[in-house]
Amino acid sequence: MAFTEELYAAAKPIWDAQLEHRFVAGIGDGKLDENRFKGYVLQDYRYLKEFARIFAWAVAKSEDLASMSWYAAVLNLTLNTEMELHRKYAARFGLTPGELEAAPMWPTTRAYTDFLVRTAADGDMADLVAALLPCAWGYVYIAQELVKREPPGDQRYADWIEQYASPEFAEAADWLKAEMNRLAEGTTPEKRRRLTELFVLSSRYEWQFWEMCWKGEQWPV
């Protein structure tokens, strides 16, 4: 069994819970309240900015030129294409680039991105990939499930689904999965447990991100 299949099995209850989450289901059927989605767009923009840093760490930590090139390309794509697309998409919800930049990080966004940065900084390449995979793979997984359903009436939600269900995102997720399997090859059971722990933890943060956007979030006190 490929290591990524083991990871998927370990996190499956969380991934199922993501698919069933009110926020995700609301994107799927188009009934999600626009204000909740605006909160998501703002937080996701902040997240994406930090997520890009993880690819920069990956360039620095890659052992071979092919991997370095791939991560560098993703970093470039994220910073110079995806974030611009994000700004254009946000404009369809009436959000300006200024609002995207100024939005304060909610506690879950802060915690999740700090967790990723910390893991990228003090972990090895396998740790780094295990931590970022639930986002890269999870979005494709969710979108590919949603795309099988009746398309949402709101075109903006339909476009969100279409983007993450696209072959480009699926290819990137597949590349990362292959990378995860390569990096896990020949590792000790203890190391594989650690990688599984990181994968499950990021999966929990993914679920929590939907939950945060559904409820809105502030510091607890």
Binding site: R110, A111, W219, P220, V221
Partner: protein
């Protein structure tokens, strides 16, 4: 006004809420439930363990004059862990196989992410605020706790002259670092100052409520 004094004034509402927290008041008054205090012990033990790599990650960035003091902080933290194990044994608290609560996990990631990606002065701000918060918090408890309390050794640890001296040293050094920074870095230091204060307050709240992990409770 010095940087620390200025920031402590700015975050006063958070600081006051922290010092008024029911966890501290109930510990001071001897009315805290055993399980509530035990919950704090289990979580803080994990936090102190994580504070060691945080200090270690500051060292490569530290000016030479700071190295000895930072280096000495590591055996001090190891001694703190011993204190936890000693009290855990006395109180019948199990410190093994504890999972971090969400707030604790988030705070630890914040510490380490700051150490890795922020400037030395910024990360040093986080260190100072965390230590200052503990000194001030445990001084609240010291004001009324029965010295015979099973929890008193914790009070002694964080209100000792040695700890007070450490916090005063950090404050002096942070003010000096702030004096050498430009407006951009100083602004980020202020942001981290406030965020650390929020995490400190969230930590007491987590201890009092027995918070676990969202979606798993």
């Amino acid at each position: 006004m010095s940087f620390c004094a200025e920031q402590l004034t700015r975050v006063r509402p958070i600081w006051e809420q922290m010092l008024d927290h029911r966890f501290l008041q109930e510990t001071r008054d001897g009315t805290i439930a055993h399980e509530t205090f035990a919950n704090w012990m289990r979580q803080d033990y994990l936090f102190v363990e994580a504070a060691i790599p945080f200090i270690a990650a500051l060292l490569p960035k530290a000016p030479k004059a700071h190295r000895v003091a930072l280096g000495m902080a590591i055996p001090t933290l190891e001694k703190e862990l011993e204190l936890f194990r000693d009290r855990a044994e006395a109180a019948g608290v199990d410190l093994v196989n504890v999972q971090p609560s969400f707030s604790n996990h988030a705070y630890v990631q914040f510490l380490l992410a700051s150490a890795y990606t922020a400037s030395y002065a910024e990360a040093y701000t986080v260190l100072y605020v965390a230590e200052k918060a503990y000194y001030d918090s445990w001084m609240v408890v010291k004001a009324g706790i029965d010295p015979g309390s099973i929890w008193f050794p914790f009070v002694e640890n964080w209100t000792s002259d040695a700890f007070a001296g450490w916090v005063a040293y950090l404050e002096e050094q942070l003010d000096a670092l702030a004096g050498e920074t430009g407006p951009g870095e100083r602004e980020r230091m202020a942001e981290l100052f406030e965020l650390t204060a929020k995490y400190e307050l969230a930590f007491w709240e987590m201890a009092a409520t027995g918070e676990g992990w969202p979606g798993l409770d």
